[in-house]
């Protein structure tokens, strides 16, 4: 393997003893794992294993009953989507959560929210500061649009785009935040081989060029084993395997879970 621009560092995100249940139904039970700086970390597991719930706990959309999230050595007291965004964690969603009636560019521009300091008065009156900031943000988003090769659709309302393109726009929006860590919830679901390959290329490129840490959920084992540095395997809300792709592949419990052996 060639030398990486951003070699893998120490733990940047630590999830400790998370338990989450919905009215008695346990989604996650006492789960812990960590994410190292600059790595690509995959979460895999059968349907209903609690993968998406896990991401939602990290990002504060769900509130786990027990457990803590530590980011950059600091235990986050109040985990909300907003606070996590401010800390530098961005994300995409499993079932697409784009702003349907806004254009592609406007969607990505919302990702620049935390890099926008002019208030509504400055925007309303078009003061120089607001204009300057808008220009900077637009230039950055145009770069992202170019990077993702979606220039031709940048003024189209996202609601009108096919699924694969929407997934790309969502990645673009997450990139626009300049987050240090991006949570990707099934970024390649419903894509064909060609699209998947392209998406992998983007993920690897971002990781390599900017050093963004990635946590991704994916079903396609080939993809997962190819691009991730380490994999954590969930089943019935519990960790049943954690390690490099090779370690996970040879883990008996993981094999059982995927082959459907009786517990």
């Amino acid at each position: 393997m060639t030398e990486r621009n951003f070699p893998i560092g120490g733990p940047v995100l630590e999830v400790k003893n998370i338990s989450l249940s919905f009215g008695g139904v346990k989604a996650i039970t006492d789960t812990s794992f960590n994410v190292l700086e600059h790595e690509i970390r995959a979460i895999i597991g059968p349907n209903g294993a609690g993968k998406s719930s896990m991401l939602n706990c990290i990002n504060g959309i769900y509130k786990p009953q027990v457990g803590s999230v530590t980011y950059k050595g600091e235990e986050i007291q109040k985990v909300t989507p907003n606070i996590m965004a401010q800390k530098g964690i961005s994300r995409t969603f499993q079932n697409l959560a784009l702003f349907k009636r806004m254009s592609v560019l406007d969607n990505i521009l919302v990702g620049r929210k935390l890099h926008t300091t002019s208030n509504f008065m400055e925007v309303a009156l078009q003061l120089p500061k607001a204009k300057r900031e808008e220009k900077v943000n637009r230039d950055r988003c145009e770069e992202i649009v170019e990077f993702l090769e979606i220039e031709d659709i940048k003024n189209t309302p996202v609601g009108k785009l096919p699924y694969g393109l929407q997934k790309k726009v969502e990645l673009g929006r997450a990139l626009a935040t300049d987050a240090n860590l991006i949570l990707l919830d099934e970024p390649m679901a419903g894509m064909n081989v060609e699209e998947k390959r392209e998406m992998c290329r983007f993920i690897l490129k971002v990781n390599d060029e900017i050093g963004t840490t990635m946590v991704l959920i994916e079903h396609d084992m080939g993809v997962v084993m190819d691009i991730s540095d380490r994999v954590v395997v969930l089943d019935y809300g519990k960790v049943i395997g954690d390690g490099t792709p090779d370690e996970v592949r040879s883990n008996q419990r993981v094999i059982d879970a995927y082959l459907g052996v009786e517990h």
Partner: protein
């Protein structure tokens, strides 16, 4: 002291009885919500439309009471089926907000049609029941309770029991609940969607007409009924949009609370606080129990 307690009881009972009227309007709303998953903002307009047609048949065409009643119900069924066909069905997969807007439009159409057909003047509706205290109760219990309020209360109570029985213990009722849950799945297992819609709209039509008659008998059949019927909305928030008992209890609660507030607190502010008190009450409910008293808690999934 005893007088004060008696007076308080009188206020509460008066409020509860008036509240049954809100319950009736809310009931029509719940029926349609259950069958079509639509917040039917035009329910108030339907009340107005139904009772104006009823009075119109009687007064303009000298149709006898019972026949006028059935004609009005028949008209309401047609209105309901047209609504289902022309408004709700084309908007089937749209957002709740879009549907709500469309029913606001529908309310306008119904109000306009009613006035175009029957005119705008206030019409008297005499059901033979007076808005006077019932002498027997006044003499024996020292409570002044209006005959028309009591009648409305009894009628509303009867209708509630009837509807509850209909939907709980008949095959149709079971079908309705299946439709409310998932119309597509219900029709695929052979539940006759058409019959159920017919049943629901008929029931909603009867409920609207009866509510309108009770109100009309007291205050005249007039446009103001539509605004009054708006108060069914806070009732629904308190009771929950999908619950028949919720509509009833919500209506009673709003009726009683607004009267008590009006009588005991209103005078300090120049009165007429019942115009907004139910809405403020609804806001407090929203803050503590957004799903209403009997509604199901909704978990938003991402």
């Amino acid at each position: 002291m005893a007088d004060q307690i008696l007076f308080f009881i009188e206020v509460v009972v008066g409020g509860l009885l008036a509240g049954t009227m809100y319950s009736l309007v809310a009931l029509g709303f719940v029926l349609i919500y259950k069958a079509s998953a639509t917040f039917n903002f035009s329910q108030g307009a339907m009340v107005f439309f139904a009772v104006l047609a009823f009075v119109g048949f009687m007064q303009d065409f000298n149709v006898p009471f019972v026949l006028a009643f059935f004609l009005a119900v028949f008209l309401m069924i047609i209105v309901g089926l047209c609504t289902e066909r022309l408004v709700l069905r084309p908007l089937m997969n749209q957002s709740e907000d879009t549907l709500l807007m469309a029913t606001i439009g529908l309310g306008y159409v119904l109000e306009g049609l009613a006035q175009a057909m029957w005119g705008v003047e206030v019409r008297r509706l005499d059901l033979g029941i007076k808005d006077f205290p019932i002498p027997w109760i006044a003499d024996n219990l020292k409570l002044f309770i209006s005959a028309i309020d009591l009648t409305a209360g009894i009628v509303a109570f009867g209708m509630i029991i009837g509807l509850t029985l209909l939907f709980k213990y008949t095959k149709m009722g079971l079908g309705l609940r299946a439709v409310a849950d998932d119309a597509g799945a219900a029709s695929s297992i052979g539940i006759p969607l058409k019959h159920i819609m017919l049943l629901v709209w008929s029931a909603a039509g009867v409920v609207a007409l009866v509510a309108g008659m009770m109100w009309g008998a007291r205050a005249g059949v007039q446009f103001a009924l539509v605004d009054l019927a708006l108060k069914a909305l806070p009732v629904l928030i308190i009771g929950g949009f999908s619950s028949i008992p919720g509509a009833i209890i919500g209506g009673l609660l709003i009726g009683a609370v607004e009267k008590v507030l009006e009588v005991y607190i209103g005078p300090f502010f120049g009165g007429a606080i019942e115009g907004w008190a139910p809405y403020v009450l609804a806001i407090f409910f929203l803050l503590y129990r957004p799903e209403g008293l009997f509604g199901e808690k909704i978990i938003r999934r991402v």
